[in-house]
Amino acid sequence: MNLKRDVAVQTYSGLGLSALLAITILNIMLHNMPQSVKRAGEKLLEINSQDGVANAVTTVVVYFRGFDTLGEIAVLFIASLGIGLVLSSHSEHHHKVESSFILKTASKLLFPIIILFGIYVMVYGHLSPGGGFQGGVIVASAFLLLLISHQDFELSHSVISAFETLAGVSYVIIGLMGLWILDNFLGNFIPHDISQMGMLVSGGIIPLIYIIVGIKVGSEMSMIVQNLLKRSDNE
């Protein structure tokens, strides 16, 4: 029941095992690299070329393996919930440090630019590198800047949870609509023509889902950051 010792023992044994495995794997890989198996990735790219999304990685992440993405969203959702739960037992007393005038003004100037960039990354996820996960985190980092520089700034819990709920529910609903319309969960039921490849409105549900993922990730990360920041200020 000695927590400190147990954690140390488990961590070190895990590290040791991992090192051993890494050596074994390097050894095996150097001596016989896998021969050319026809990779799933190539086949996925072949299918994507009929699907009308310029960034093939987005198609794989959001559409072909969209079910995994749904699961990852759920993981993030539960993790954010857990952080809120574990930290909620502390008191809400804030220890305020006044930040300098320069920082306050500059962060006000930077905030809209960063938000704009985050939304750009989210919306153009199917055309250029980036997408919901990255864009969401960029938006959250804009809020982080504001939270650090303005001590009295606080995100409204109800607004964030409304965004969160909206995004999560609409992801599952879009999936179920695919099931009802095309008999295929997460089926691409919005018309997507190959001639529109590279335009902003193309690819059917794929950009829509990535924007939803972005909203969800952005609100979860902002909530995590706010919980950690505000609760760690009390002394």
């Binding site: 488990q10 559409y63 969209g66 919930l81 709920t165 599952v172 999936g175 295929n184 969960f185």
Partner: protein
């Protein structure tokens, strides 16, 4: 009806809880119970379908993810939804007197746990299995730290660290599999796995064994289990022991049968299971905390199921499914009764058993324990008998001896508990139980008794299920033949 609802509906519910909680104090609790009952009905309606149903997501297998609902996976889904809905109804009664703090989050977590347990059973894509592995893991860490006491945090942190180590091993194995075999679909992997060079095969099997071994709670990797059970609340223990572990067990053997059909590592695994059982039962003798005792007894039973399943014969799989059903139901009943005792006396020490005066609770406790022990005429007996028979048929006499010795040790501490419950000399206080508690517990016990007396109610179905679980070519042809 489509099997995707088993996963989509609990996730939808989890995401929608902030809206639902606007409609009043009880709305989340009741809608959760109603949704689980709907899933139970769906599972019940799927049990009579003649063939396997493959639910394709986005694109056809082998590239896309798909869910396979065949006889055996539907049996597990039915078991999970049944136990979870009974648990929810039971909690509806408890929450009137002793609700958890921040109840909405509790409902989110149990539904995520249900969705991920079902996802583990249904999914046919190894990376998708990893995603559900993570969801189940993270919701379980938070559930075990839920009460917020120092012990609960200790349990949560222990669970978190071991779970993370397990995830590292598993994701490493999946990466190697994808590098070498170029696919993530279980059917394709099943065809290609035996073509790997033998060192690589051994390495991947070891990584998979360690990754799942932490979660399946197998001997060298189960040092954390009892601390987690002791720290987390008793109700949650019921879920861990009756739903989560069973899902991991199923997915471990699902992958094992598909990847290594020749039973190469069988003699190693059968001993691992037997050693798990005897170590757990021996340690359990000295315990004085009810939660720890039943945690060790869970470990023992899991070792028993594990070594039965490694025999890889259809009669052994039948036996193992019987034990899984019996153990899940009996353990849930026991943990729910311990909750009643804990709420009235505030302690889970075994001495509290001396001071309760309630013929109902005592009967439930004793019947469930007798079923765990595997005595006739209860459901536990059917499984144990079939399992011992298949051990004898496969001529595995060393594990058979170990298991029989372990069962004798198990009976020692069970009868110690029975002795405490029936002790005439001690002072006793009445134990209040409500009508809902009584009916849920009697329903669980009724299943144990009725199916135990007449196992032929479910045995034809389980026979078919066990054939299906071992029939790799059928699985491959249904999965790869699917496409719309």
């Amino acid at each position: 009806m489509s099997s995707i609802y088993f996963i989509a509906l609990p996730l939808l519910f989890g995401f929608a809880v902030p809206i639902l909680s606007r409609f009043g104090k009880n709305s989340v609790a009741y809608s959760s119970a109603i949704m689980q009952l709907a899933l139970l009905y769906l599972a019940y309606s799927m049990i009579s379908m003649p063939n396997s149903v493959v639910e394709v997501i986005a694109i056809n297998p082998p590239l896309g993810i798909s869910l396979v609902a065949n006889k055996v996976s539907v049996a597990f889904v039915l078991l999970f939804t049944l136990l979870m809905s009974l648990f929810s109804i039971y909690y509806l009664d408890i929450r009137r007197t002793k609700p958890y703090k921040d109840e909405n989050k509790f409902f989110i977590l149990i539904n995520m746990l249900l969705a991920s347990a079902i996802g583990l059973v249904l999914s046919s894509d190894i990376f998708n299995i990893y995603v559900f592995f993570e969801i189940a893991g993270i919701s379980a860490y938070i559930l075990s730290a839920y009460e917020g006491s120092a012990k609960a945090y200790e349990a949560g942190i222990k669970y978190l660290i071991t779970g993370m180590i397990a995830s590292i091993f598993l994701v490493f194995a999946i990466a190697l599999i994808y590098i070498h075999l170029g696919s993530l679909n279980l059917a394709v992997l099943s065809e290609r796995f035996m073509t790997l060079p033998s060192e690589m095969k051994l390495l991947i099997s070891m990584l998979l064994f360690i990754g799942f071994g932490f979660k399946v709670e197998i001997f060298p990797l189960n040092f954390w289990v009892t601390d987690v059970y002791e720290g987390s609340s008793t109700l949650v223990n019921g879920l861990f022991s009756s739903i989560v572990v069973k899902a991991y067990l199923f997915v471990f053997f699902h992958i094992f049968y598909l990847f290594i059909p020749s039973g190469e590592y069988g003699s190693f695994l059968v001993m691992v299971g037997a050693i798990t059982m005897i170590v757990a039962e021996t340690v359990a003798l000295k315990q004085t905390n009810l939660k720890r005792i039943f945690a060790y007894s869970s470990l023992g039973q899991i070792g028993f199921i594990f070594s039965t399943l490694t025999l890889e014969s259809s009669s052994a799989v039948t036996a193992a499914i019987f034990i899984v059903i019996a153990h899940s139901i009996a353990k849930l009943a026991i943990f729910l009764t311990i909750t009643i005792i804990e709420h009235s006396s505030g302690s889970v020490d075994i001495s509290t058993l001396r001071h309760i005066k309630s013929p109902f609770v005592v009967t439930i406790f004793i019947v469930a324990m007798v079923s765990l022990l595997g005595l006739p005429p209860l459901l536990g007996f059917t499984g144990k008998f079939l399992s011992l028979k298949s051990f004898a048929v496969s001529a595995e006499f060393l594990p058979l001896t170990i298991i029989i010795i372990a069962s004798v040790i198990e009976s020692v501490y069970y009868f110690k508990l029975v002795g405490l419950l029936l002790d005439r000399e001690s002072e006793r206080k009445p134990l209040p139980t409500s009508l809902i508690q009584k009916s849920i517990l009697s329903l669980l016990i009724l299943i144990l008794v009725v199916v135990g007396v007449a196992p032929w109610i479910i045995s034809p179905y389980i026979d078919q299920a066990s054939h299906m679980m071992l029939d790799n070519s059928l699985y491959i042809s249904t999965l790869l033949g699917a496409g719309k």
